[in-house]
Symmetry: C2
Subunit: 376 residues, 2 copies
């Protein structure tokens, strides 16, 4: 069995590290010959919209999946015509577009964050009026890690955001490459949670426990799994919501849904990622079968693995520079994952997971690891 | 950091799967372009004694290790002159030769199995006389998985063994390519145990718990970790013995020593392997830090990882044909490792590890897995 992965980043690399022991081989398509997946399978170097490269990529591959959702629609179409692709084109199209994503939540009776479609300046003004500030203007597509987002607290912010997000050319006509936009209201959440589900080809769904996430400067910094203090009722409600989305999309593979926890058992859905997700990295050591192995099992049509946890885990991203490896490896229970990327400010170059029997011990261990990451 | 591994078999593959997350990259030297390690690093295809291939192999590599002990002495010498090699040439030379291995045990006060050096037919006859039958004639070098061994129960066996092991040419002179031999007495052991130790460049030693091994037709079939019923005193004695061997050899990396447990806390040392070992595969899921990760940590001069166990594990080798994957993956707690080798009678093509909180549950799970392996 050969799995083709669109994208050769760290998610592709970790998919292969989990899939190789199952006897699965990997081929990646990535424009960067030095991408993290180069060491764990065959790499086809090419642009995602280069049909010749796509042709080489799919040759002899049994199934294609992807490790990022910003796959061009034309590429998704081309792939679907040539090979089995999981998750499907419709899942990709829905998750790519913040508006379609929210419409999907609504259609399944899941409350999304307050939001408004923004195509014109008049719609933009009216939406701010209605929603109040602070609010966030976002591109509907191709945003990630805080990119393509403008927080609006004042009229001046609104002016600047509109100018940057929706620039006009010299003739004051709309630029054809301007992104479609959405205005989102800020939700008074008590915390951010995510839930990772996996759905097999036979429709079976399994769920990892809710994860508590903390972001810094728009990038995930920290995940705690299982999130403490989530009632069984809330967990089950989140599982049902995630299952409904997966069923609606005929989903195969791992889906991540981010939720805002409003307290008192209430939550709204923020967004989804149709792939393995940074908030599931803890599962490599912290769950019986990791999100990566389960994604590969699902897209290969194999039985799903157990999502049961082993104790408690705290995952910390290593952002920017290489951490103090000797220090980290000297901490029993801390597991280090370096992705083979050149260090650069703001770049995720690895992560560590602190595992222990209970959350207090995992937090204490993570505190020690954090000091060694801050040395970056 | 780039680690060069001599040999591209499943042990090399699992070393890379454990080392890649540490940010280590791998290069392998193997005569077979289709070897299991081809997917997890750069592969130099060449014979182990081909100096041009060795030159390409060591170019830019930070440290060299190996995944089998039958490295030609000339190759070990050449490598040592060009690059850091761990474990060292002396460790390799000792473990390669059953006689030197036993002399090493004796020098450290560890009782080996009864044995005699056999260079001539007269020595062979005398040794059988002294040791009694059954006994085993073995080649001193390059035997593995029961190859190069002749069990002797009768005079006819002795005749046949001598003829096969020590053939003469037509002129009845000793053939120059005949192997040196050793005769070993059978020890009335109650069970076979192995102990895996790891020693860092700074001399720190850590030990996995004793493992109980069962062989079938000379090939390891099953390992149980931790071996039940080993007293603390016996475990500590085995740790001390293993530590003494590692210290004597200035060892760096994982060393496996096989012991015969004679009952009542007594044991003799059977043999050693200067590398990661089949009886340590359970440690991938069953220990905090696996033998593979610890070997890479050691040869790279990084701090050693925790050898603490997570519950109990039973490892079963998949020998011959591919197992029933769907069945195995449907068993929670069973972890499957397929090496990417073409199935062939008598060939280790993968292993599975059944993990559970206690030995009874792990044994029960392994029983179910065994039925799916027997489908091979």
């Amino acid at each position: 069995m050969i799995v083709g992965v669109l994208g050769g980043g760290q998610l592709g690399r970790m998919l292969a590290l989990a899939g190789l022991p199952l006897g699965v081989r990997f081929r990646f398509l990535d424009p960067d010959a030095g991408c993290p997946s180069r060491d764990v399978g065959e790499l086809v170097v090419g642009a995602y919209d280069d049909e010749a490269a796509l042709g080489r990529f799919v040759q002899g591959v049994d199934v294609v999946t992807y490790e990022f959702e910003n796959v061009p629609a034309k590429t998704a179409r081309w792939l679907t015509e040539h090979v089995s692709v999981f998750p499907s084109e419709v899942a990709l199209a829905t998750a790519q577009d913040r508006l379609a994503e929210k419409a999907c939540f609504v259609a399944e009776g899941i409350e999304p964050a307050p939001h408004a479609k923004v195509d014109t300046e008049a719609e933009f003004r009216a939406a701010i009026e209605r929603m109040g500030t602070p609010c966030i203007l976002k591109t509907r597509r191709f945003g990630y890690d805080g990119k393509g987002q403008w927080v609006i607290r004042s009229a001046a912010d609104a002016e600047r955001a509109w100018g940057e997000a929706y620039p006009f050319d010299a003739a004051r006509t709309r630029r054809t490459d301007a992104a479609d936009l959405i205005l989102e209201g800020l939700v008074p959440f008590v915390r951010e949670l995510s839930m990772l589900g996996v759905r097999g080809k036979d429709g079976e769904c399994r769920f990892y426990p809710p994860v508590r996430n903390t972001h810094e400067r728009g990038i995930l910094a920290r995940s705690v799994a299982p999130a403490p203090g989530v009632s069984d009722a809330q967990r089950e409600a989140m599982e049902r919501a995630t299952a409904r989305v997966m069923e609606r999309l005929g989903y195969v593979g791992v889906l991540a849904v981010e939720y805002f926890d409003l307290g008192g058992g209430r939550f709204v859905a923020n967004e989804m990622a149709p792939r393995v997700h940074n908030s599931g990295h803890w599962s490599i050591e912290g769950a019986e079968c990791s999100q990566f192995e389960n994604h590969i099992r699902a897209v290969c049509g194999l039985p799903l693995g157990s999502t049961s946890v082993r104790g408690s885990s705290v995952m910390l991203n290593a952002i920017g520079g290489l951490p103090d490896m000797r220090g980290l490896l000297g901490l029993p229970g801390v597991h280090v994952h370096i992705y083979g990327k050149a260090p650069r400010a703001g770049r995720k170059i690895g992560h560590v997971t602190a595992c222990a029997q209970d959350i207090a011990a995992a937090e204490e261990l993570a505190g020690k690891a954090a000091a060694m990451l801050r040395n970056c």
